[in-house]
């Protein structure tokens, strides 16, 4: 069961207008911890601290600034900020369509289901067209005073809207400064074979979150005053580069 619709909008491109309702598609629930001061177990508060003076800054001494390329900030008051941010509207503008495979998962932030608002033939037509062409619609919209960039896609029987992060928010691979090593075709070949043997179909329901339960048990144990046995985490011995080929061969033998 999805929850209530969190927002309503209109998918718009060309002369097409499709009213939709947004529903969150993911619900996460985890054990929440509070942060406490070690010495007296007092709950800590989060405060805005001045990076310079390391003292808390009350709201009346806070102002927002937009960082220019030269490192200076243009100060903006709350009312100026309102003027700058795009106006509230219900339009989800579809700017363009792109091949599904082109959107790399580093850009995806959240997923929403799009429920047709009122029985909508246009919705079904769009769904069919997207499926046939295997494309996604890149959209922009403003929701609750925040601007969003997203990708609208067809999945199964329903349209979805994935919010995307902007390109400058993704750290480029080049900044990792990875070294370039030489690898033999033989090693690549055996590794390929190995991976084929380890390939399965994507069935995510196979994977359960076992940790939550175990964590709850730990907390219960401590609440009862029981002693906790500290186990060292398992650490594997890294495969040395000179032994890589034989390790691959041994692995293949094991699974084949």
């Amino acid at each position: 069961m999805t929850g209530k619709a969190i927002w309503k909008g209109n998918l718009h491109f060309g002369v097409i207008d499709i009213p939709v309702k947004l529903h969150t598609a993911v619900k996460e629930e985890h054990i929440q911890f509070h942060l406490l001061h070690k010495k007296d177990h007092l709950k800590l508060k989060q405060q805005m601290i001045c990076a310079h003076e390391k003292v808390p800054v009350p709201p009346e001494e806070q102002i927002r600034g937009f960082k220019q390329d030269d490192g200076r900030y243009v100060l903006v008051t709350p009312s100026e900020l309102e003027e700058i941010l795009p106006q509230e509207s219900r339009v989800i503008s579809v700017l363009e369509f792109v091949k599904t495979s082109q959107i790399d998962p580093r850009y995806i932030t959240r997923s929403y289901y799009l429920e047709p608002d009122n029985p909508s033939r246009a919705y079904l037509t769009l769904a069919a067209a997207l499926t046939d062409l295997d494309v996604e619609g890149i959209c922009t919209w403003t929701m609750r005073k925040r601007p969003y960039l997203g990708a609208m896609q067809m999945s199964g029987k329903i349209l979805r809207l994935n919010t995307l992060r902007y390109a400058d928010e993704v750290i480029p691979v080049s900044s990792l400064d990875l070294p370039h090593m030489s690898i033999s075709e033989k090693e690549l070949h055996i590794a390929s074979d190995l991976i084929s043997h380890l390939t399965a179909s994507f069935e995510p329901q196979k994977f359960e979150n076992e940790h939550e339960n175990k964590l709850r048990q730990l907390i219960d144990k401590k609440a009862r005053g029981e002693k906790i046995v500290i186990l060292r985490p398992r650490r594997l011995k890294p495969t040395s580069p000179s032994k890589l080929l034989q390790t691959l061969e041994a692995s293949l033998k094991k699974v084949a």
Binding site: C50, H52, E53, D69, D70
Partner: protein, 297 residues
């Protein structure tokens, strides 16, 4: 119009009083710099100059000029540096007396240069400890910190040399003159030194810039060790009320002044500077020659 070594330099407004409290005129400024030129030029040579111009004297508006004025004579040496935003900029190099005179004719009372030469802008020749007294502290406190700093660095086999800033603080510099030293190195080093001094003398020293942290303490401004920062050149005039000079001290002299306890005896004015230079030569000469390595960097 002056003729120096076959070049024409037009000097103007020579009678203009630039230091009202003493009647020190532009002519006097030019004369001062002419007299100290043999000592100051080696410290200015090959460095991107930032002019600090007081066209109407020390009591009036001043402005920094990093870009070499376009109306310069053809014989003024210049070089191109890359600004923070990637754009090129032409800067003046004060390599000879004529250029020094031309710059002073523009009433650049103060001469500020980076710690690195213009041809190797990322490699400083020295590491600087800029001692800046906060509200409620004074130059005597700077002397105190300088002595502790000297002993601290001596423990790491590093020699250093102090000079007055000419205003309220003190500069302590350790010459390095190593091709490979970077500002990253000197910044890291000076920051660690500042933090260790702060930990051990928390009531006297701070390594933090925030004004509230500096009250009654000496702030060691380690962030001056940066390619974008400049320091006032040794022997430069300062635009204070009186024509004081950024002047070097011997350690003996510094110890004496510190124990003497009279802050008024510390500043050196231009006439005293000229006399002392004539008598003892460039006290800061080691800065140009001595080679030292930063340990543990």
């Amino acid at each position: 119009m002056a003729q120096i070594a076959g070049r024409n330099l037009s000097l103007s407004n020579l009678e203009k009083v630039l230091y009202p409290s003493t009647g020190f005129t532009k002519a006097h400024v030019l004369e001062y710099y002419r007299l100290v030129s043999p000592y100051i030029l080696p410290h200015l040579r090959g460095r991107a100059l930032t002019l600090k111009r007081y066209p109407d004297g020390v009591a009036e508006e001043y402005f920094f000029e990093k870009r070499c004025p376009s109306h310069r004579p053809s014989w003024v040496a210049t070089t191109e540096i890359t600004r923070g935003n990637g754009e090129p900029m032409t800067v003046c190099l004060v390599n000879d007396l004529d250029t020094l005179m031309w710059v002073e004719n523009l009433a650049s009372l103060e001469l500020h240069v980076p710690l690195a030469r213009a041809d190797t802008p990322e490699n400083p020749d020295a590491v600087v400890f800029d001692l800046d007294p906060g509200n409620g502290a004074g130059i005597l406190d700077c002397l105190r910190v300088a002595l502790i700093l000297r002993d601290l660095l001596a423990g790491l086999k590093l020699a250093c040399f102090p000079k007055t800033s000419g205003m309220k603080g003190l500069h302590v510099l350790a010459p390095l003159n190593q091709k490979k030293t970077t500002f990253d190195d000197t910044k890291k080093f000076s920051k660690s030194v500042a933090q260790v001094l702060e930990r051990n003398y928390p009531d006297l020293v701070t390594s933090k810039m925030a004004k509230e942290q500096r009250v009654k303490k000496v702030f060691i401004n380690w962030s001056q060790n940066d390619s974008s920062k400049t320091m006032v050149c040794v022997y430069s005039l300062r635009a204070g009320e009186r024509p004081t000079v950024s002047f070097p001290m011997t350690w003996k002299e510094l110890e004496h002044l510190e124990s003497n306890g009279n802050p008024d005896k510390i500043q050196v004015e231009q006439s005293e500077a000229v006399n002392r230079l004539k008598k003892s030569g460039d006290l800061f000469g080691e800065m140009l020659i001595m080679k030292q390595r930063l340990p543990y960097i």
